[in-house]
Every structure is written in structure tokens, then in C-alpha cells.
Amino acid sequence: MLNRRKQIANACVGMLCLIVSSCAVLLLLAIVVFMLQESWPVWVSQGFSGIAFSTNWNPLGDPPLTGIGTMIISTLWVAMGGLFIAAPIGFCAAIFLAEFAPPRLADIIRPVLNILTGIPSVVYGFLGAAVLVSFFEVNFNMASGESLFCASLILTVMVLPYIVATSEAALRAVPREYRQTALALGVSKPYLTLKVLVPLAKKGLVGALILAFGRAAGETMAVLMVAGNVLIMPNSWFSKGEPLSALIALELGSAEVGSAHYQGLFAAGLVLLIFVMAINLGLAFIRRDKKTG
């Protein structure tokens, strides 16, 4: 009797959790469907290549053109650039925290890094616009200091805590036996770290990079304020550019509802969303791989 009641209760709780968690999935699905629905007319009229590969963004012209190729390149450039700087710093910091730092020092560094994640992105953007941009203008004699490089520098600071935290966890997740075996064989601590632990934690480290890339690609406010927002194709790290997220934030407020401009912005949003979702899916696969392998 009691057992039966227990079973029913369990089933109920399971059901409830299922319903609640499917709501979250439905929410994501609803967002994708909504964005697709809002942007559908431009996908039909411009075609996929007319949006993703074209570099003509002139949604108010006649006919309206909504090519976001330059924005996609800018997004990639800014995010990759940010990772390029953040990855070595982040990995070194993680290795130091996981293996070499005295516990007391690690207890100070870790919360400080975590505070970095809590700073609102508009503050980063403001600092970037006020300090970095004018620094470049004055010291490098640039006509104007806004550039993808500035945006990358700010993203570096923003994604660093994610890289450190995730890769430190990956290093710590390496089973104890490896460590003990290595030490029993008499290898030095740097050898143990670099030749044993890092290769073993490789997938976790790549996962950290992918997570950071997703963050960097989706970041809006900070890049909006320092990337310069020009419509020409960036041809170096020091050119100006307009990442997808900045384009949307900048123009959605003034786009007339239902116009090609509005639909084009939703198309840009959809591309960005799919981008970030694909990255997260990739991450999930890597994680699953790690468990089974």
C-alpha cells in the first residue's frame, strides 16, 4: 500500500519536472519560430545567399538590401580576436590556480575573477569608449580610435573568467590515479602538469574556448560602443566593423514594424542565434564525448 503511494508520488514529481523542463525547451523553440516568422519575407525575397553572403546593407533603399556578410565577418573577427588574447592568459591562469597556486592565494584570485563576470557590459563598453578609444587615438595617431581590436580587448576581459573557471574545473576533473602514478614515477611537477594533466583535460579546455566564443559572439553593449559601426568590410584587426549584435541594438529602435528593415534585423538576429546555438550544441557534443570516452 505504502509502496504504491510512493510510486504514484514519484511519478507525479517526474511528470511535473518533465512539464516544467519542456516549457524551457518550448520557449527556445518559440523564440526561433518567432524570429523566423518575422524575418520570413526577406529570406524569401533575398534568398539565403543574399543575406548571409552579401555585403550590401541598405534596408531603406529601393529595393531594400539586407546583406549582413560584413556583420558576420565583424562578429567572427571580434570574437576570435578576443579569444586569441584571452586563451593563453586564461589557460595559464587556470593551470596556475589548479596546480601551483598556494590555496590561500587561489582563494583570493578566484573570487576576484568571478567579480569580473558580474560587471555589467555597459560599464565595460563605457570604459572602452572613454579610455581605450581615446588612448588609441592619441598614442597611435589613428583618425579615430574605434576598432575591432578595441572590441576584442574588452571581450578578452569579459570572457577571461569563463575560460579560467571552466578549464580549471577540467584540470581538477582529471582522476587522482594519474597524478599519483606520475608522482610515483618521479616526474617533476611541471612535467606532470604539461605532459600529463593538460593532454588529459584537452577536451575540457576546448570546451572552455567554445563557451567563451559563444559569449563573445553574443556580447552586445560593449562592442556597440567601441567597434565603430561602419558598413565597410573589415580588412584588418585594426579596422572598424559592426558586429551583428551591434547592428541589431543600433537599428531596431528606429526600424518601422513590418518593413524590410525590421525583417532584415530579425534575419540578422536569427543568424546570430543559430550561430550561438550551434556553438553550444558543439560544446554539448564534446562534453558527451568526454564522458563516454
Binding site: 505504502l2 503511494r5 510512493k6 508520488a9 514519484n10 507525479c12 514529481v13 511535473l16 541598405n58 534596408p59 531603406l60 533603399g61 569608449a129 581615446s134 587615438e137 583618425a143 579615430s144 574605434e146 556597440l224 560602443m225 565603430g228 559601426n229 561602419v230 558598413l231 565597410i232 572598424k240 559592426e242 541594438a249 543600433l250 537599428e251 529602435g253 528606429s254 526600424a255 518601422e256 514594424v257 528593415h261
Partner: protein, 302 residues
Amino acid sequence: MKRIRNLLVMMLVMGLVLLAGCAGQSEQPGASDSAEVLDIKLGGSSTLSPVIAKCADDFTEKYKTWNNVDPSLPEEPIVIFVSTGGSGFGARSAIDGTFDMGLLARDLKDTEKESLSEGVVVKLGSDALTIAVHPENPVLQVRPDLTTEEVKKIFAGEIKTWKELDDQLPDRPIVVAVRDLGGGASEVFDENVMQGTPIAKDALQMPSMGALAGKVMENKDAIGYVSYGFVGQNEGKIAVLSVDGYQPTAENINSGDYKISRPLLLVTKDVPTVEQQLFIDYLESEEGMQVLEGMGFIPAVN
């Protein structure tokens, strides 16, 4: 076992609360009709909304309850919400009915005019876009007056360096700063200067008028269209050039001699309620116009 039961009970209670919330909401329109109508929600243009917000503060402070404005109204507190978000957002919100009144810093488009044909359009004043440069820019001594054609060429990217504008100027690139394409300011500029010629692709698009003014204040090679109000608020930090011989002054803007100007509008979807009309009257009164003028705009001539 007990824990699971507690959990279930808790979830049940939460479910009931949620249900109760839904029920409450569906009953609301009938029950609280009178209280809801008295609130006024406005929003739109980031240029105009600070003026309206200041007026709303003054208005609320002065009268506190509606019966102090007009004795025939109930003794309900005055609540006025003002939010910002751009001219397009203002028009859209008024059409959708999310706001009672929309604020625009540009003319209504034809499609918007159609959707708002039942309501009123109030012109509160005008704002001009000045062709602004850094106060230390030598162009102020050499060429303080530009023609519309020159302004157009600079913003279209045909004149790329200051030297190309005039031989006596340094051979430095001109940094063109604009607002986002399609926004209120950029439409006004297109209408009065560019006339369909696209803005240079390497022009910096700034996220707000404040950021644009900041760019001109910081960068000695920058040129941008800065709102007349901002120039007044940052005296000495921004210098303006005259266009076709006319300085952007209140007289020249009002007379229409200085062409690059835009109206500041307030629109409603339906005929304003008594309370809404009272607030509009206040905005148009001397007190309201003083606030508008104090923030650097040109009051509408009544």
C-alpha cells in the same frame, strides 16, 4: 515520503496562486477601469523624452492630484510614465496602444499618419542638426561657412580629407560621425542634405546623440550632425559651422533659413482624454515651453 508530500503540497499551492493570478487579471478591466485611465504613458524619441520627463515631474509636483488641475476630476494621484526608445518606437507604441502618446523627433511617415488619423499631432517645437566640429579644428578659421553641397560631399565620403575641402587645412582624414541609419536624426539629415545620396560606408554610427556629441568633443578631426540642444548644453566644447551662410540660431531655425531642422511632435492614436489634454495644454503652456527652451530646443511659435 514526507518530503515528497510536502513538495507536492507546495507545488499545489503555487499552482493555485498562479491560477488565482490569472483569474485576477481577467477580471481587472471591469474592476479598475477608472483608476487605469488616469495614468498617462508616453514614450519615444530620445531627444524629446527628457523634456517631457522634466515637464511630467513639474506637473506632478505642482498639482499632485487630478482634482487640483480641474475640480471636476476625481481626487486621484497624477501618474505619468515617460520612457525613451527612439522616434520609430514612439510612433509604433502609439499605434499599438502600448503608450497613450508617442514622442517623435521627425515628421510622421505616411503609413504612420494613416494609422494615427483619429488622434492629434501636436508640434511642441523644433530641433536643428548643427554641423559640429571640435573647437580647435582649424576649419573654423579657414572655412566657417559650408555650402549644402560641401556638407553632402563630406558625409557621402567624396571629400575624404580636410585638405580636399580647403588647401590651407591639414592633410588629415575627416572622421564622419552619424547616428544609426534609419533613425530620426539620420532621416532628417537625409531629407535636408543628402537627398537620397547614401552616407559614406566608413562613417561611424554612434549609438546615441550623446555619444555623437562626445565623439566631436574628443576627436579633432571629427565632424558630425549634433542636435542644437546638445550644442547649447556643451557650450565651448562643440563648435558649429554655418550652412549656406546661416548660423543655426533660434531665429534662423524658426524662420526656416537654416534648413537642417526637425519638428518635435507628440502624437496620440485617439482623441485625448480630459487628463491627457490637460497635460498637453501644460506642455504647450509657458512653463512647458520654458523647459523645452532650457534644454536647448526651439519652442513652437504659437
